[in-house]
């Protein structure tokens, strides 16, 4: 018995084995997926609908190892995969995702469980006999169909036992029902085109054995395959069930095992943001927006400074603004004393940039800080100052500009720098404050003219009109503490060909003048007025004798600083004479010389009145002011009377007339042979020339008189300073020579010849203001004459 049982068991085992062997591999057996699956179960795979052996995964380790990542949260590990949210509470995708592609995987297989199919019975082919085929197009959805999207599945040539009838052979008989081969389909498969078919009653599946007429069950019989209704439990968690979720992003959906939509479990990858700043984003592997992981801070410029390169240069002043000496337009130039005076580093500039970075000075790429001066656009690397790296971070560069660098305008600066974090670069940007530096050669071409300002000096125009061609200008040296510069005299009154250094002070020395003494040398003029014209800006100003171009006289910021330095002098005037209390009459020419330089202005006249004596008429046929002012506005004051016509009487008085009438007839007068013997209250006759070499005796014009009548000429020597009386000569009356004192004649002059008043001051500059000869009209001399000579006989009548 035991052996029989064992044999039966062995025999049964054999059949099981056979059966298993028959089913060693998964496959469809009579339409049913089955078979032997070691370690797993035979299942119809999703996509290819193959019956395959699916081996369930082993229990995952506590960490989600499937995707190799460690979940940041404990509830993120779902079936071995990192997933968002709690596995149990993972959101369930709806069956209708927001967007359903018409062919989700473009494989001409409709991915939806119930594709929308449209079928059309094909026309019978004359060569074809049999069940009338049906042609159909399946679309994922009706929308896809309506939108004329391509069908994801096209079936044709499938025998359709329903509704398409039968294609008879070349005849058109009325089809008669006949039994056709049947094919069983599994429900809800793509090959089962009858979406609306509800299945067989009391059965599953569908069998057709009679040309689309029957609808019978397929149950029963071993030869009748019993289709099994595919059963499906949607699983969006188990990646072995719905494998798509492993390759689908967490924020995307895929069709799970039951064609349900599942959210993927593939986490997004924001590694692209690893090197981005928190202010930056990128797109992750799941199209998510990934925010930079770095806390980045741009490096900015807090302040830019220009400093002089001298021994005391340092930062200890706490960034005092006074270290940047600029004008209202933030300009500085290389010749400014701030930059030029330092020694031993003239034309050397220290630039300091104070930088900020919220991440600290350490986040500044020290090799990235560069500056450039727009005058030459040369990039200059700035060096970090290690001692100043808290708060604003200091970087510096030192530049020395060659002496021949000559850029016409002040140029600004730009700076660039980069932060380490995120590599944030601050592109070339204008510095703050917007400083500008002009680098030039500090040389100022100078030229100018000497003017005769005798008519009046009033800066900036008065006295700068008439070239001083008569000043005797011969040389000009600009004297400085170091280098003297000699100008080139180009005309009687002009010079040029000289460059002054803008930073230096100069004292112009004319005609051999000396700094500590007479700076005008032997120039025939005085009262120097200096006018400096900035040819770049047009500014004109008068200054002291010293030239300080740097002191507001010439702007260094002109494209080509140039200056015109003019000098105005009061030309040394020729000696001149004046009459007080009367007029002057000449039968022909009247020369006079009232200069425009006379002071006070009230004395600037040929004739003057005073409290008791009005000035009188000036007459001649021709006038000439030897000092240039021929406007005839200086003939007299208060009476500016003049006439260009002879007003001398027709009677000409001579020695003989007076001798006969005074000496002979009236018995008045005496012969004078020695001038030193002259006494007041006398009438003297000189029978020849009279050389006056000493002052006359003093004559009180209110009580006395004196007349000197000379047959020939009267000459008044230079040592004579005062003559009282009336002087009459048949020839000329001449005053000659130089004296430090003027010649005052208290009386009148009358000459049959010329009256020549050539007397001058020894110091010719005194001529500028004072007459060298003054005739002080004394009417009392007339009324104190002896009455004998006043009584004139006239009007002889004979009856």
């Amino acid at each position: 018995m035991r052996k029989l049982i064992g044999f039966i068991l062995i025999l049964l085992s054999f059949f099981f084995v056979l059966d298993i062997k028959v089913r060693a591999d998964c496959g469809f057996f009579h339409g049913i997926c089955g078979g032997t699956c070691t370690g797993g179960t035979c299942q119809v795979e999703y996509v290819n609908l193959n019956c395959v052996c699916v081996v369930p995964p082993t229990a995952p380790p506590p960490t989600c190892y499937k995707n190799g990542r460690t979940c940041s949260r404990d509830d993120q590990c779902c079936s071995g995969y990192c997933a968002e949210g709690n596995c149990a509470t993972r959101p369930v995708a709806t069956n209708t995702p927001t967007s359903i592609p018409c062919d989700i995987d473009m494989n001409n297989v409709c991915n939806t469980p119930n594709p929308d199919c449209v079928s059309t019975c094909m026309d019978c082919d004359e060569d074809y006999v049999g069940a009338r085929k049906k042609f159909g197009n399946c679309y994922t959805t009706a929308t896809c169909r309506d939108n004329l999207e391509g069908p994801c599945y096209v079936y044709s040539n499938l025998p359709d036992w329903m509704n398409c009838g039968y294609c008879p052979p070349n005849s058109n008989p009325t089809p008669t029902p006949f039994c056709q081969q049947y094919i069983c389909y599994e429900m809800n498969t793509i090959e089962f085109p009858y979406a609306n078919f509800g299945g067989c009653a009391s059965g599953i599946g569908h069998c057709d054995n009679c040309g689309g007429v029957d609808c019978g069950t397929c149950s029963g019989g071993a030869t009748t395959p019993v289709p099994t209704q595919a059963s499906c439990t949607p699983d969006c968690i188990n990646p072995t069930v719905s494998s798509c979720i492993t390759t689908t992003c967490y924020n995307a959906t895929c069709l799970g095992n039951c064609y349900q939509y599942c959210y993927g479990m593939m986490p997004g990858d924001c590694s692209c943001a690893n090197n981005l700043c928190s202010t930056q984003t990128c797109t992750g592997t799941c199209n998510e927006t990934c925010t930079g992981q770095l806390t980045c801070a741009p490096t900015t410029l807090d302040r830019f400074e220009i400093r002089r390169n001298d021994g005391s240069w340092s930062f200890t002043d706490g960034r005092s603004p006074g270290r940047d000496i600029t004008d209202a337009q933030n300009r500085l130039h290389i010749c400014d004393s701030f930059l030029s005076d330092e020694s031993p580093n003239p034309r050397s500039v220290v630039y300091v940039a104070w930088l900020n970075n919220t991440n600290g000075c350490g986040d500044i790429d020290a090799n990235s800080v560069k500056m450039k001066w727009l005058g030459n656009n040369a990039e200059i690397a700035m060096t970090k100052l290690a001692s100043y790296q808290s708060g604003p971070c200091a970087y510096t560069a030192t530049v020395t500009y060659p002496t021949d660098t000559n850029i016409p305008s002040a140029q600004g600066f730009q700076i660039t720098m980069k932060s380490i974090s995120g590599g944030v670069t601050t592109d070339w940007t204008t510095v703050t404050p917007d400083l500008k530096l002009k680098v030039w050669n500090c040389q100022v071409p100078v030229s100018g003219t000497l003017y005769d300002g005798s008519s009046g000096q009033l800066c900036p125009d008065g006295g700068f009109t008439t070239p001083g061609n008569e000043l005797g200008f011969s040389s000009l040296v600009f004297d400085s503490s170091s280098d003297d510069i000699t100008a080139i005299v180009t005309s009687p009154s002009s010079y040029g060909g000289v460059n002054l250094i803008w930073t230096k002070s100069y004292l112009p020395l004319i005609n051999g003048g000396i700094p500590a003494g007479n700076i005008d040398g032997n120039l025939q003029g005085s009262n120097r007025v200096t006018r400096v014209t900035d040819l770049g800006t047009g500014q004109r100003l008068c200054t002291s004798s010293q030239i300080d171009l740097w002191n507001g006289q010439v702007s260094p910021y002109s494209a080509n600083p140039m200056a015109q330095i003019d000098f105005s002098f009061i030309r040394d005037q020729e000696a001149w004479y004046q009459v007080v209390g009367a007029g002057v009459k000449s039968r022909t020419l009247l020369q006079y010389g009232v200069p425009v330089t006379v002071l006070p202005e009230t004395s600037k006249f040929l004739t003057l009145g005073d409290a008791t004596r009005d000035n009188g008429l000036v007459s001649a046929t021709n006038f000439l002011n030897i000092n240039g002012n021929n406007l005839k506005d200086d003939m007299g004051s208060p009476n500016n009377w003049y006439i260009q016509q002879n007003t001398n009487d027709y009677d000409i008085y001579n020695y003989n007339y007076f001798y006969n009438n005074f000496y002979v007839k009236a018995g008045v007068g005496e012969i004078l042979t020695d001038w030193s013997n002259a006494e007041p209250d006398n009438i003297y006759f000189v029978n020849g020339n009279l050389n006056i070499n000493s002052n006359s005796p003093v004559v009180d014009p209110n009580t006395q008189t004196m007349i000197i009548i000379v047959r020939e000429n009267i000459t008044i020597q230079s040592n004579v300073t005062q003559l009282d009386g009336i002087y009459i000569a048949d020839g000329s009356i001449t005053a000659i020579g130089d004296n430090s004192a003027p010649l005052t004649i208290n009386g009148m002059l009358y000459a049959g010849g010329s009256v020549g008043l050539y007397r001058s001051f020894s110091d010719k500059t005194v001529n500028n203001t004072t007459p060298a000869v003054k005739v002080n009209y004394s009417p009392g001399l007339i009324f104190n004459l002896p009455p004998e000579i006043m009584r004139i006989l006239s009007g002889w009548k004979e009856e």
């Binding site: 008429l617 000409i652 004139i792 006989l793 004979e798």
Partner: protein
């Protein structure tokens, strides 16, 4: 026959000629005789006239020298009587010397009296204004006027005035008056001594008015009548010839003393 006639004719001609020459000689002889007589008479008259003239002239000289108004010649053949009269306004307050002052000449109007010795007195013109009349009726000119005075401190001074009376010929900066006949100087300085008036461009007959005030004596006119007598021999006829001379003695001085500098050629400074 013909020769005879010629001879007769020649003799007749000679007679006629002789008669004519004789007549001529007689005539000439008679005239010479008459001329001598007349000339003798003329000589005597001229001589007397000359003497009278000389006497008159001498009378003036004598008066000027001595102040005496009668003069007898040394040969007692002539004599002169001098009379004087003041030259002035005769109480009218108008000084008009009735003389033409040429252009650029000077007319002197004394505003103070002169002492007998010719020195200035102390009687000054007491008016406050003086009207100067130029006398132009056409071709006007200009006047330069000076008023000399002596102030309280004894200092001599001068005030000057200038006027243009023509619209074209003018002195620069003289006052333009136009074609008026006169100009009044008002006021004139106190203690005025002398007013000088110089016409310019045109000579003028200048007079001045004291506007109710009289002017001092300007001088004197000296009249001298010289007489010389002669008795003709034979007729015992006595004839006297008178010759009157007059001269004015006024106070003047050369024009150039009105100015500070006067040159009859040129005034030079260089």
């Amino acid at each position: 026959m013909k020769n005879k006639i010629k001879n007769n004719l020649r003799k007749g001609q000679v007679a006629i000629i002789v008669m004519l020459v004789s007549a001529l000689l007689v005539t000439v002889g008679l005239s010479l005789s008459k001329k001598t007589t007349v000339e003798t008479k003329i000589d005597y008259n001229e001589e007397a006239l000359k003497k009278a003239f000389n006497a008159a002239e001498s009378g003036i000289d004598y008066y000027l020298a001595t102040g005496q108004k009668t003069y007898d010649s040394d040969d007692n053949l002539s004599e002169a009587n001098v009379t004087t009269e003041n030259i002035g306004d005769n109480g009218s307050g108008i000084l008009d010397f009735k003389e033409f002052t040429p252009a650029n000449g000077v007319q002197y109007f004394w505003l103070v009296n002169h002492n007998d010795d010719g020195s200035l007195g102390n009687n000054y013109f007491s008016g406050s204004m003086i009207t100067v009349t130029h006398g132009w009726t056409s071709n006007y000119g200009s006047l330069e006027i000076g008023v000399y005075y002596k102030n309280a401190l004894g200092v001599y001074g001068v005030k000057r005035y200038g006027y243009n009376f023509d619209t074209s010929s003018k002195v620069y900066n003289f006052s333009d008056l136009g074609n008026v006949t006169n100009v009044t100087i008002n006021p004139i300085p106190s203690n005025p001594i002398l007013m000088t008036v110089t016409p310019i461009f045109q000579g003028a007959n200048i007079s001045i008015s004291g506007n109710g005030f009289t002017f001092p004596v300007q001088g004197e006119k000296i009249n001298s009548v010289g007489s010389a007598g002669v008795v003709f021999d034979g007729t015992q006829e006595e004839s006297k010839i008178n010759k009157k001379l007059s001269i004015e003695r006024r106070y003047k001085f050369p024009y150039f003393l009105l100015s500070g500098i006067v040159s009859e050629t040129s005034v030079l400074s260089q």
